[in-house]
């Protein structure tokens, strides 16, 4: 199957990221350029192969001449742009965001099936979250264990919407969606039916594999046993584009 070819009218731009002179296609986002050049930018909602959501705000960067921070996943490169990806201010903001994610719901890592294989946990470690400075909300959220193969634990969901996007954009089922506002916001299957009663779910498990935490997991796993594999995603995404 042929792979997509870069359109001929796309121009190259030059920019600086963390004092490195780089060139990129003008249709690329900053996070794409960073990842191509092995410049680490944290993110929990961005995933190569899915559309951009820009919800987690962990990939915020500083652009010279702009007072406001920008999200690297949803900001395109521009000629002469100067970007900082890891300043003290950014580190402080990122740590606070991760702390708020931990405080909002009930991420009890020690008993989680994703313990040791969780992107949120790894993010906490890399951001230096040794404690959470904001009060925990400690609001109980339900667990949907009605699906024969998979389980949804809202307590561990960070609303990154990767499940919603992969189901819509890659599997084409659009089983997942988002309901509610603020802290009542939830991912739902079909029209808020229990997952096991969903008529659109194909049980492909893509949502489980892209979920960064222990919110979506396989049934039958015990603490620390849920290891996710996301390698399929860019391959499938390229093939979808090629069709």
């Amino acid at each position: 199957m042929p792979l997509p070819v870069t359109p001929p009218n796309i121009r190259a731009v030059t920019l600086k990221i963390d004092d490195q002179d780089l060139s990129a296609r003008e249709d690329e986002t900053i996070i794409e350029v960073c990842r191509e050049n092995k410049i680490a930018i944290p993110s929990l909602c961005y995933l190569d192969g899915l559309s951009v959501w820009g919800g987690c705000r962990l990939c915020m960067i500083e652009i010279a001449g702009q007072g406001r921070l920008a999200a690297a996943c949803s900001t395109r490169v521009a000629e002469g742009m100067e970007v900082r990806t890891n300043t003290e201010r950014l580190q402080r903001y990122r740590r606070t965001i991760v702390e708020m994610l931990f405080a909002e719901r009930n991420h009890v890592c020690s008993v989680c099936v994703s313990n040791g294989h969780c992107e949120l946990q790894t993010m906490g470690q890399s951001c230096g979250v040794d404690h959470v400075r904001v009060p925990y909300r400690q609001t109980p959220y339900p667990v949907d264990s009605s699906h024969e193969m998979f389980r949804l634990d809202h307590n561990r969901c960070i609303l990154c919407t990767r499940c919603v996007r992969v189901c819509d954009e890659i599997e084409g089922a659009h089983t997942w969606d988002v309901m509610g506002r603020g802290s009542d916001c939830r991912v739902i299957t079909d029209l808020a039916l229990p997952w096991g009663q969903s008529e659109t779910c194909t049980s492909c498990g893509k949502c489980v594999q892209v979920c960064p935490t222990g919110a979506l997991v396989k049934q039958g796993t015990s603490a620390g046993e849920m290891v996710k594999d996301q390698h399929f995603l860019p391959i499938l995404a390229r093939r979808r584009h090629a069709q």
């Binding site: 020690s110 008993v111 099936v113 313990n115 109980p140 339900p142 667990v143 949907d144 264990s145 009605s146 389980r151 634990d153 096991g196 049934q219 039958g220 796993t221 015990s222 603490a223 620390g224 046993e225």
Partner: protein
């Protein structure tokens, strides 16, 4: 004038507690109570969680005996799955349980109780602790630390972590044992057995010196409750329930663990967060029974390993006839069990099937109620769960080893207080004996209350009107 003495916190135990002694006008003890002052709520907050999370969740009840909770919980989950786990997985689980028994008993004997036994009940409390033992009995202290390390190392080798390993899973264990790991564990055992035998021989020489304590430290007629093998031998992982009375008559035998509710009920008192289990046939509070090393050895016909069987025979000689009645001899029983545990670990590791790779049965939940029972270091531990059709927990009952001994501990402190406490001339050593009888049971109060907070305990002295007139707090 009558008074109440409060000992708070009780020291060198696992968890927080307080003892109150009510003294009459003449200075004699009129009442004694053991109060558990923590609350945790495990049984409640587990509701709504997937049952497969329960082993890791309930293991957090305790940092000393997490393996016991892990095993009881996984056995309850096995019951929910309705599977028989592969025989090799059962043997591996047994090894981990015995390793934990070794380290926990070593902690109780060497770190928590040996200061009283070696330095005396009335010695200076400033040095009456493990550091004092290190100074005055360095070889014994090293033995204790090493024995505990051996138990912990076996747990770590098997489960990847010393505390809160997650290697035991519903249906078996997550990984088979490799030859390297088996050999590494086998190498540790000769030294462990040597320490256990040496300590046992040393303690035997001490026992005659404690005749008075043996006569007054919870020396009372109670029932004894434990698991035994179907042949009636010492058992820590599976088997059937046996209840023996103070004269040695077997009241209940060959009772499947999932019928435990037929045997015991749980009462609640407003002065403690710990429940008061009792033997149903005799009612509350008459149905007092003891669990743990003393009960296990009293109930067992034999241990089934060479050195431990010799030690068991010597244990039975501590008294002319019948089950050993004194709770002081929990210490003795603990040392016998350490010998047994190390011998049994070696036997299991040398089993030709121990390296089999089939160690996990897989299934979904096939029933709505699961019960898992195992012997924790402190006694019989029961996990009882109910789940809904989706496998989410709807109800939990954790009957904790220390809880079984609650009535016995209350009766024991009364007995010790009667024998040693003089309200007219209160001495620290008297109160230390009251604490020491609690230490005989090696209570784990964090487990027993499913509770909050830090460790220690207090003794309160109240007058007849209930006014606190003296308090001793240590921690």
């Amino acid at each position: 004038m009558s008074r109440t003495v409060t000992i708070e916190p009780v020291t060198r135990i696992e968890g927080h507690a307080r003892i109150t002694l009510q003294l009459g006008d003449g200075g004699g003890v009129e009442d004694a109570k053991f109060h558990l002052t923590q609350f945790r709520g495990f049984e409640k907050f587990c509701e709504g969680r997937p049952y497969r999370e329960m082993p890791a969740l309930t293991a957090r009840t305790c940092g000393i005996c997490p393996v016991s909770h892990l095993l009881a919980s996984n056995k309850a989950c096995d019951h929910l799955l309705s599977v028989s786990i592969p025989p090799t997985a059962e043997k591996l689980r047994r090894i981990m349980n015995l390793a934990q028994l070794t380290q926990s008993h070593a902690l109780s004997f060497f770190h928590l109780s040996s200061p009283d036994l070696l330095m005396g009940w009335d010695s200076d409390p400033v040095s009456r602790n493990i550091f004092g033992v290190m100074r005055q009995y360095p070889d014994l202290a090293k033995d204790g630390i090493r024995l505990r390390q051996i138990g912990q190392s076996i747990i770590e080798t098997l489960g990847g972590k010393k505390i809160h390993p997650t290697w035991v899973v519903p249906g078996g264990v997550s990984e088979p044992l490799s030859q390297d790991k088996r050999d590494a564990i086998l190498k540790l055992l000769p030294e462990g057995l040597e320490i256990a035998k040496r300590t046992y021989d040393f303690f035997k020489t001490l026992v005659p010196k404690f005749k008075d304590e043996a006569d007054h430290f919870g020396t009372m007629p109670t029932l004894f409750f434990s698991l035994v093998t179907p042949k009636g031998n010492l058992e820590h992982y599976d088997g059937v329930l046996r209840v023996k009375d103070a004269k040695g008559n077997i009241l209940e035998d060959m009772v499947p663990p999932w019928e435990y509710e037929r045997l015991i009920g749980e009462a609640v008192e407003d002065y403690s967060y710990m429940k008061f289990p009792y033997f149903k046939a005799q009612g509350y509070p008459k149905g007092i029974y003891r669990v743990g090393p003393l009960a296990r050895l009293n109930n067992a016909n034999a241990c089934g390993t060479p050195y431990a069987d010799v030690a068991l025979a010597e244990f039975h000689m501590l008294q002319e006839s019948g089950p050993i009645a004194s709770s002081f001899h929990y210490h003795y029983a603990r040392l016998v069990e350490i010998i047994y545990a190390i011998e049994m670990i070696e036997r299991l590791l040398k089993d030709p099937t121990i390296l089999d790779t089939r160690v996990r049965a897989r299934a979904r939940s096939n029933r709505s109620e699961g019960i898992g029972v195992a012997e924790a270091p402190r006694g019989t531990l029961m996990h009882h769960y109910r789940i809904d059709d989706d496998g989410l927990i709807t109800w939990v009952d954790l009957v904790i080893a220390t809880g079984h001994n609650n009535l016995a501990m209350n009766q024991s402190i009364r007995q010790v207080a009667d024998a040693y406490v003089d309200g007219n001339d209160l001495q620290e050593g008297m109160l230390n004996r009251v604490e020491a009888v609690i230490r005989c049971y090696d209570p784990c109060l964090s487990c027993a209350s499913h509770a909050f907070g830090q460790m220690p305990l207090t003794i309160e002295l109240k007058d007849a009107s209930g006014r606190v007139v003296d308090t001793m707090t240590r921690g």
